[in-house]
């Protein structure tokens, strides 16, 4: 099991932004001229970091920078990252669709890749013919494919359409057949890029089961890219995370995923002008800022510590009733943990800015990252209530596995829930 299936060494990939057209001939000729004189290609020196949201200064961009990792035989490696982080480019290089600009990859064994829906199908050929075509693409001989044919058709569940040209298939059917072909043609390395997006729930489950089977029972290596983090967590044995074309994290799936969620949900500032669900909120009373108050210059809360936040808001219109603040704590994968409300103490008889300190006492949250959603309004859970402003995921904060006296929390598993409650009594009745 310790043998390497893939060794990726210092891979870089450069792309040209914008229209490839005018000026290409000139660039190409000057490139050739540099090469001819034995000098380094001048265009390899330039190129900006890959960031989809910012407009870059020049036309060349590094889609992948300095990627280095190994995959062991029989391992299921998850690759996560935002859109445009370089995941698909990496997979394209691994499946030899395009080549890297710099660096080297060693691959041991036959690679089958499922990049997007309907991999390599020819639309005019029937499903059956396409199975043969895909097998041949993998370098298999005819007899080998015939031996697997029934299993493939059976797994895909498209028997009724198997002698119909693939162009008549729905996208889900293409995906089903594509997955079945890739998984059953017994490649040594299976590359799966975001294919679960199209299939129905039943087939998704089937796929995940098959991928698990392929790796753990048949000992094959799987590379799995998905935005379905639950699936990544369940399936993979290790994860890498790409961000702006760089490999920024590598390790156990739970840890990498948590880090990913923290990065993607936490724009480091705590202003939240863009986080309102609709325009309606925040007209009369507007929440503007929430900042965690940590003890002793740290950037996290201790386990068991009273959680304190500074909440700022503006009153644009006077209200007769006193206001209260409500908040909901949820995990990064959107599971709500609990909600609470303060008592109505905020006077709203004058227009202006207000700062309040929100204290959540005795809430023993299990170590990890949490999101806090915030609301301001009148009323409570028991009576009618009305909110003036609601900000979802206003803040992400961490609880470290460390009490204020320096002890770690043991004997706690995630499936126990997220809160440790210790006001429990037991009496003889």
């Amino acid at each position: 099991m310790s043998k390497n299936a893939i060794i990726v060494r210092d891979i870089w990939k450069q792309y040209r932004l914008g229209q490839v057209g005018t000026g290409t001939l000139k660039n190409d000729l000057s490139r050739l001229w540099y090469k001819f004189r034995g000098k380094e290609d001048p265009f390899l020196k330039i190129g900006t970091n890959n960031d989809r949201s910012k407009k870059s200064k020049d036309d060349w961009v590094w889609a992948l920078e300095n990627i280095d990792f190994n995959v062991k035989e029989g391992e299921v490696l998850g690759i996560i990252g935002r859109n445009g982080a370089g995941k698909s480019t990496l997979l394209k290089i691994l499946s030899k669709i395009t080549s890297p600009t710099k660096g080297e990859i060693e691959v041991y064994g036959r690679v089958a890749s499922l990049l997007e829906v309907g991999t390599g199908f020819h639309p005019d050929l029937t499903g059956r013919e396409n199975i043969y075509l895909n097998g041949a693409v993998l370098g298999m001989r005819k007899q080998e494919i015939t031996a697997k044919l029934d299993a493939i058709i059976d797994f895909s569940g498209v028997e009724g359409y198997i002698d119909t040209p693939v162009k008549r298939y729905s996208s889900g059917m293409k995906m089903r057949l594509g997955f079945a072909v890739a998984a059953f043609l017994e490649p040594d390395i299976l590359i799966v890029d975001e294919v679960l997006a199209v299939g129905d729930a039943e087939f998704q489950k089937k796929c995940l089961g098959k991928i698990k089977n392929v790796s753990s029972e048949e000992g094959r290596t799987v590379l799995f890219v998905s935005h379905n983090l639950g699936a990544v967590k369940n399936l993979t044995t290790r994860c890498i995370m790409l961000e702006h074309g760089k490999l920024v994290n590598e390790g156990k799936p739970e840890k990498v995923i948590e880090e990913y969620l923290r990065m993607t949900t936490l724009p480091e500032n705590t202003f939240f002008e863009t986080k309102r669900i609709n325009e309606f909120w925040g007209k009369e009373i507007r929440l503007t800022k929430i900042t965690p108050i940590f003890s002793g210059g740290l950037s996290f809360f201790h386990f068991g510590e009273n959680l304190q936040f500074e909440v700022c808001f503006q009153i644009h219109k006077c209200i007769v009733d006193k206001l209260r603040i409500g908040c909901t704590v949820s995990t990064l994968d959107e599971r709500p943990v609990l909600s609470m409300m303060t008592s109505a103490v905020i006077e709203a008889d004058m227009i202006g800015n207000r700062n309040y300190k929100l204290k959540i006492n005795n809430l023993r949250l299990f170590p990890g990252s949490y999101k806090l959603s915030l609301s301001i309004g009148i009323g409570s859970f028991q009576e009618t209530r009305m909110e003036f402003d609601v900000v979802r995921d206003a803040l992400v904060f961490n609880i470290e596995n460390l009490t204020e006296s320096g002890n770690a929390v043991y004997n706690w598993r995630q499936d126990y829930g997220n809160v440790l409650h210790d006001h429990v009594d037991l009496q003889i009745s």
Binding site: V20, I97, S113, D124, V137, D188
Partner: protein, 283 residues
């Protein structure tokens, strides 16, 4: 379990210019035949006349040539029956032009499958040349049938000439030309689409520079060098010479043709294998 058989492969930015991976190509021969079959079947699915289309195109073109060039323009056919003369040129020329047209677009028209799976890219143009060969044989049968008809009618007399033995060689030459030129053009069109504009009418023009609708010996002496400089001319002339006994056959011209073909094919294969690694980024 084939884990024991895992062979190592290295993915690198630049493979060397002459690393053509011919062994890998051989391993994928099943794929080649599958593409040939696909190409052949797909060309007449959803048609009523089906395979008849392979005959219809040369027949109508020949009739049109007979009318326009033979009857209106009155260009010499070297004393041969007009139909036979034009058909002999067309059958060979079609193989070349069809093959060239399709290989010249191989990257653009197959970017769908090339973008999703890996196989040696050269398989695709090779399959075009092979499936073109099937089409050629069908049209060649048509030519033979009409040839026999004129023999029975007595308008031509068949005499066996050793030039007939050159037929397979002529086919290889034509295949080489269409493959080589097509590879060069398709490699360049991934970045510069200008060439695909050119290819559409370029092939049509090239036909007039080749003795398809006229015999070589009808060319005025001062322009003869132009037609002779065209390396495809000797192939058609030799073909006519072999069957009809007319035309200018010279070993020297044929050698020149072979030499040109070898160079074009060589350049084609090398540029193609250079471009194939990264064409997905620019196509």
């Amino acid at each position: 379990m084939q884990i024991a058989s895992n062979k190592k492969e290295i993915i690198k930015p630049h493979k060397s210019l002459f690393d053509l991976r011919l062994i890998e190509l051989w391993n994928y021969r099943d794929l080649l035949f599958m593409f040939v079959k696909r190409d052949f079947l797909a060309s007449y699915t959803q048609t009523i006349l089906g395979p008849l289309w392979f005959f219809i195109q040369p027949i109508f073109t020949t009739l049109m040539f007979v009318f326009v060039f033979g009857n209106i323009a009155g260009i010499s056919t070297d004393g041969q029956p007009k139909i036979l003369f034009y058909l002999s040129g067309l059958v060979i020329w079609n193989y070349f032009s069809d093959g060239l047209n399709k290989t010249a677009n191989v990257f653009v028209s197959n970017s769908g499958i090339f973008g999703k799976v890996y196989f040696p890219r050269l398989i695709m143009p090779l399959s075009i040349v092979v499936s073109g060969l099937l089409r050629f044989f069908i049209q060649f049968l048509l030519f033979l049938a009409i040839f026999c008809y004129y023999n029975i009618k007595g308008e031509v007399t068949f005499s066996f000439s050793t030039a007939l033995l050159l037929l397979p060689f002529l086919i290889i030459l034509m295949a080489g030309f269409s493959l080589g030129l097509g590879l060069i053009i398709t490699s360049l069109t991934t970045k510069y689409r200008d060439l695909s504009m050119f290819i559409g009418f370029g092939i049509g023009l090239l036909m007039y520079a080749t003795p398809v609708i006229y015999p070589m010996n009808a060319v005025p002496a001062k322009y003869l060098f132009l037609v002779q400089a065209n390396p495809i001319s000797p192939i058609i002339e030799t073909f006519r010479y072999a069957f009809l006994g007319s035309g200018m056959f010279s070993v020297l011209n044929l050698l020149y043709s072979t030499f040109c073909m070898a160079i074009i094919l060589f350049i084609g294969v090398i540029t193609f294998s250079k471009v194939e690694q990264n064409f997905m980024d620019t196509v």
